[in-house]
Subunit: 281 residues, 2 copies
Amino acid sequence: MADSLDAVRKCLRDFPKEARELYLNETVPYLDQPPSPLEFYREWIGPNKPCIIRNAFSHWPALHKWSPPYFRQVVGSKMISVAVTPNGYADAVLGDRFIMPEERHMTFSSLLDIMEQKEEGQGKLPDAVNFWLGEASAVTSMHKDHYENLYCVISGEKQFILIPPSDRPFIPYELFQPATYHQREDGTFEMVDEVYAEKVPWIPVDPLRPDVERYPQYQLAQPLHCTVRAGEMLYLPSLWFHHVRQSHGCIAVNFWYDMEFDIKYSYFQLLESLSGTVGGL
Amino acid sequence: MADSLDAVRKCLRDFPKEARELYLNETVPYLDQPPSPLEFYREWIGPNKPCIIRNAFSHWPALHKWSPPYFRQVVGSKMISVAVTPNGYADAVLGDRFIMPEERHMTFSSLLDIMEQKEEGQGKLPDAVNFWLGEASAVTSMHKDHYENLYCVISGEKQFILIPPSDRPFIPYELFQPATYHQREDGTFEMVDEVYAEKVPWIPVDPLRPDVERYPQYQLAQPLHCTVRAGEMLYLPSLWFHHVRQSHGCIAVNFWYDMEFDIKYSYFQLLESLSGTVGGL
């Protein structure tokens, strides 16, 4: 019985390497022009491979119009919802907590005031708006989405760390108590447990400083690093793990498309359940 | 340890059901017109789902020209290679042998003579020619190919039994000694072992008469049955198991396209190695 289980572990350990040798690139390739819809589907979406596309939205007025003074003039009085944290980590693991930002409502101008004074605070609008404005300290912790993601950088740059879904056996997940930041009157932050919320499964590894003693299997993962600059569009395929940093005041727009819940999704679910079943590799 | 292995078995047992509920159809759907290349990729090849397409090759002269008298007139003197067996099963399991046909060279006219006299013998030209002419008794035993397959029936009809790749955990494989038929002078057949050839892994189940006592897990597979008639084209996705029968003298042309060796292929390989690892489900 132990032998069979070892054989299963070996399958799960060998699979990411074989997938990498078979079809993955060692870096994220650049396309100088947007591909045709058929090419894009056949070469990138179907095979679930990331790429960075240049000259895909050179016609957008946003590329030369959007800036803090422009937003202040055009939408400065608009009330928006801002995710506020003391350290830039929103929806992330801190100790034994899954910590969520304080959601604060303010005008767009107030957010720009905060960012220009470089005070604490990050702008992260809700996913549905697909508009991103963030401080240098704002970090998106490693996670995956059920979306095909087209990520267009308008100004500044974003740094992505990408890990393919086939590396799932090497990615640890743990359950965390949800908590939310609240800023006190003196400006300091406290964490308040969401006592009635269910525990959240999240990835406890920080790819910038991985704790390899605690998560040795993570050393077998092979992250790709790429920088997406103003005017470039990243195709971030569904179910790829990603961690995102940015330059101060970086402006970006992203498009989420529902992934196909097809054979690839089914296979990933199998990999996920097997990875959770056999314990350490 | 036994519990973990049971959990792995449960994953493999549940996966085909979940895949079926998520994205598979219960029958093979018909399209009344050929889809655009993008639609075809997005709706069928990408998701790895079969369909039958009507009116895809209505402009082929073959549809009204091709018949035994026409072939006799136009290519009757051409030497061809014919696969000859006593029972119609070529490349199939018989007892503890993997039995291959006798390859015989004759003119096309001689093949037509044999078929018209309904004597023993089947016409199965090599894969590369993509031309199929067979007797009612000629059966292709259950197997899978690494190709995207477009199968056009010119006259007569073909009956397919299809099983999705996600049912792989329920499909038994065994190793068989290769052997070849040789017809003796008195017309009877003998099997001659290919003593230097390696054993061949093949599926020992006949989907028309499955031996469920010996292969109980096969009862969990859910085969799809479909009939492809003259003028219709089956898209048979890569890695789908298939078993094929035909009407007497059925003429067909098929196109094999190399499959993408991408994430789907990698996942299938994982499923294959896991299915071989944990033994009976």
